[in-house]
Symmetry: C2
């Protein structure tokens, strides 16, 4: 099995740490290693370095290389433009299928927290086993939901159709887009639904077959790139064709349309760290519920999250459930229950003449 | 009349801007000039530079000189130790009386905001006129109270006993220490009380006479210093005697005990800028009541005060009545109604091994 760590994300909601040139996955938010470094290290028991690839956008390529000095040369897949996950996953499938015809690929995120990495590796191996025996299956990693979250897609879990090492692999009844709160609540209480963690195990060739059926134009572009792989025109073809590929999520392009989708049920202490409030759910807090990733003095303050650069002292007095993030040149202060609105600041910066430097 | 600007204060409640080596009065909190510079400039219509003196502690002497390059050489009065306002005012009286026997002195603060400087100058001239005619009077500047403030002393206004240029000077019924809230409310609603702004006009010699009567030990020390003025032993005598002088406020040492105390009633848009919340009372705020002394983006935020260094972007989302002060190496976040508790942070820093650098 080949492993692709997708590291092209933007992580807007983690602004001001997350920036265009140094997004979320490059930061050590959860440990002293960056999330990208952790994403590679967590699979080292099942993935030799020669089987590990990283995909990212061209603006971030240098950052990936400097964070992962041991990444094998040529294992960095650089997308010439941001075209969403459909083209990104298509490109990784094209390149790996060209190099290793018939290969199975685990396509994984780089900016999620997984508290139980051994269990995660066991599930990936079970998914690989399912795809080995059933080569047309697309196997998803579905996370056991812990709350009625409206920010994630949901996967309807069906019957067990495969078992590997005691781990059941389920048929998928359907892949649902982000639901409203009532629907999310019904999903969670039914026990039949899992969060879509956007991690997949499948044959690269199978994904390309499905793209041929459901997104023929996208597929045709990918084939043009594939034909140039290994030739002197590989890079120029990629740079010419890729930016014109249809911008579509892999969920819409393939997952929602495929008839053979499966899922492993993951109880792996997972968080997408999708916002500043999510960090306190996965990291230890003090006796007042404060997550202090800074030299901090708190007076009568509870439930708050503080990030600041080394050498900066942060004093909180009388605040509750507040997020304070100092990124050196930019400072964010927002109550935990409003962290989703960080996007509005990012949007406003995009409109300001001098906003670029903070993005 | 000679003018002494007292610039030896600490301004703890304005931490993290206010530091031991660069306290409140050295900062441009209210305009683009520091409060000390503004204190000198606001009297320039009545005070020639050769009549202006500045007193401060030895740790701050260099800072004063660099902020006030035009201060006449020898007009910086340096206290070898912090001994409260009794010895500080005593020292300025000793030095000025030695140089200008019989002189009248206006002893003024350096860290207060005065929105109507011309009116302030007019009042100082009226006070000078009263002391010229009634050389035993101690004339205070009493500020018309605008709220039942418990953080100030109060001056009970009596009958008019002098008038200069249409400005009445009142006899003082009593100088009261900081009252409780009920008493403060009664003071304010009576219309008979004024805030003690700790600014005085008097003859230097009269203050020394009163110290001789009420604080003979302190007076004796001051006389020892006076005897050395102009000799080669002046500096060594000052350094030997001053640190041993009784630590006492001028209010307790003289004002509360004198029988000839007067007051001018000041309607001068005064604020002691005694806390971070006080700034929004004297500076213009935006349409949401935010005081933004920083490059700031606010989303659904009201009544908040933001100070940050140039080049730092501050984003506030969904916060109300919050103070956010970024001083570069230290950041303070506190609701406006808890700003008095900044002291607790300063106290904690004093106890920490590495706290010194933030003080």
């Amino acid at each position: 099995m080949k492993f692709v760590i997708r590291a092209g994300g933007i992580g807007t909601r983690l602004w001001p740490f997350s920036r265009r040139e140094k997004p979320k996955q490059f930061h050590a938010l959860v440990s002293d290693r960056s999330m990208l470094q952790t994403a590679v290290e967590r699979i080292d028991s099942i993935a030799a370095l020669e089987d590990v690839y990283v995909s990212t956008g061209s603006a971030l390529a240098e950052g990936v290389t400097s964070q992962l000095p041991d990444l094998v040369e040529g294992h960095l897949i650089v997308e010439p433009a941001l075209r969403n996950t459909g083209p990104a996953v298509g490109l990784e499938c094209v390149l790996l299928e060209a190099a290793f015809p018939g290969c199975i690929v685990a396509s994984l995120g780089s900016d999620h927290h997984i508290g139980r990495p051994e269990e995660f590796c066991r599930l990936l191996k079970a998914a690989e086993s399912a795809v080995s025996e059933h080569p047309d299956e697309l196997v998803l990693v579905g996370v056991k939901p812990t709350r009625a979250e409206t920010g994630f897609g949901y996967i309807q879990k069906g019957e067990v159709f495969h078992e590997a090492d005691g781990e059941p692999v389920y048929r998928v009844g359907g892949v649902k887009e982000k639901p409203d709160l009532d629907t999310a609540g019904a999903y969670v209480s039914s026990g039949d639904y899992l969060w879509n963690a956007n991690m997949f195990v499948w044959r690269a060739g199978r994904v390309l077959e499905l793209l041929e059926t459901h997104e023929p134009d996208l597929h045709a572009g990918l084939m043009e790139i594939k034909a140039a792989v290994g030739t002197s025109a590989e890079q120029s073809t990629l740079e010419r064709v890729y930016p014109g590929l249809k911008e579509i999520a892999i969920d819409n392009a393939v997952l929602e349309r495929a008839d053979r989708v499966a899922v492993v049920e993951a109880d792996i202490d997972w968080s997408d760290i999708g916002s500043w409030s999510a960090l306190a759910d996965v990291l230890p807090v003090d006796e007042k519920g404060n997550l202090l990733s800074a030299d901090a003095i708190t007076v009568d303050s509870t439930g708050s999250t503080v990030y600041a650069p080394e050498g900066k002292l942060v004093a909180l007095i009388g605040v509750d459930d507040l997020v304070v993030v100092d990124a050196g040149d930019a400072l964010l202060v927002v109550p935990k229950d409003m962290v989703q609105r960080v996007r509005e600041v990012v949007d406003e910066l995009g409109e300001r003449d001098d906003g670029e430097k903070y993005l």
